[in-house]
């Protein structure tokens, strides 16, 4: 075979890889936050009384979930300037990933809202709370706790999707790994280590999330 494993180059570049990992986590966190806001709006619209609202939410979800993330990322970075909006790489990617995750989170929150027992809404009505107050003080707290597991797994997915930022030269983990690979030709070592980083990070996040879910079990 004539290929001997030599991890030296990879270890020499460890800082870059780690910074890339951290950047990936930051991108995922930012997108989750913005995506959650979008998802809450979308979720409430989906179960709301306005048929226009339900239609908008459903269309948004259908369009975004059926479009490849890479297409959305490239479109926002390369095509938006045609409309006069020029974003830097990182904001552009975060916008793309937020829009993408917003669609998935809309579905998560919609399902969460539908599992809140109707009796709680009636109890809120019976003490004279308005619809807005019931949404804010009764339905949302219960729903948010119930969707915690789904939010967690969405974060893990988003973190893996941050690898796509490499295609527009955002220096996250995949981009760093490819750089090392191309410069050193240490193919197997580079990709094994990169993969190991992702897997370890994902497993750690999942373990942490499980701890959080145990602390805040579903109602």
């Amino acid at each position: 075979m004539g290929y001997t494993l030599n991890f030296a180059v990879v270890w020499a570049n460890l800082p870059q890889l780690l910074w890339g990992l951290v950047l990936g986590l930051e991108l995922a966190a930012a997108s989750l936050l913005i995506g959650t806001v979008i998802g809450l709006v979308g979720g409430f619209l989906s179960v709301g009384r306005s048929s226009l609202g339900r239609f908008i939410a459903a269309t948004y979800v259908a369009v975004v979930r059926n479009t490849p993330l890479l297409v959305i990322v490239l479109m926002l970075y390369f095509a938006l300037p045609d409309l006069g909006v020029r974003l830097d790489k990182v904001p552009s990617f975060i916008t793309a990933l937020s829009l993408y995750s917003g669609a998935y989170l809309t579905e998560v929150f919609r399902a969460g809202l539908m599992t809140v027992p109707k009796g709680l809404v009636e109890a809120g009505k019976s003490i004279g709370l308005t619809r807005l107050q019931i949404s804010l003080f009764v339905v949302s707290p219960v729903m948010l706790r119930n969707v915690l597991p789904a939010l967690g797994s969405t974060f893990v997915s988003l973190f893996k999707d941050t690898s796509i930022a490499a295609t527009i030269a955002v220096p996250e983990l995949t981009f760093q790994a490819r750089k090392i690979n191309v410069e050193s030709f240490r193919v197997i070592e580079t990709w094994t280590v990169a993969s190991a980083f992702y897997i370890t990070a994902c497993f750690t996040i999942v373990a942490l999330l499980r701890g959080v879910e145990r602390r805040f079990p579903k109602f």
């Binding site: 259908a62 059926n66 490849p68 890479l70 390369f78 893996k160 796509i164 193919v187 370890t200």
Partner: protein, 217 residues
Amino acid sequence: MNEFLAEAWDARDAIVGGLLQTLSISATSIVLGTLVGILVGIVLVYGAWPARLVCRTYVDIMRGTPVLVLVLAAFYMPTVLAIHLTPFEAGVLALALFCGSHIGELIRGALQAIPRGQTEAAKAIGLTFSGVLLDVLLPQAVRSLLPPWVNTCVEMVKASTLLSVIGTGELLLRTQEIIGRNFLTLQFYLLAGGLYLVINFAIEQAGKALERRVAYR
């Protein structure tokens, strides 16, 4: 708008060619992935512990790694191992392995969700293991598997875009090449996005029709 239509017509061969490549990549990955997935799923439920360990490791590695990393690794690694794969082959290999891990998990879940009583009743009438599996368990599992499997198909179509990164001539790469010539960036990206939407919608509708057929049996 007229300029766009003219350019689109000029580029129709490239667009259609890219579309066909996308469909080819997706279909091949799905078929291979489903075969692998069925095997992995069955092993995860019924296999001896060494086989189960291997499959578990395979699934965990695939699911913890981003698809793009798998695609890049599949592209770069074979050369140093003196294996020659075209970008298409490397990409499909990566996608098929990824797809297989997803479907393996789906099948594991579906099989484990069937009540034990079904297996016991099947054994009681004298069916062998393969009989139990093929005639009793899998038919029931199929019904609950269809929607997530259709979902996986859509994910594979979306993942095919990643092969543009390693130079496979599918729809997205062709779109980028066209844009490189005429700079109608927004229009052609919208066209590409629209085509992906159409493909995935079609898959979902076909899936719903299939679900209806399976439900009446």
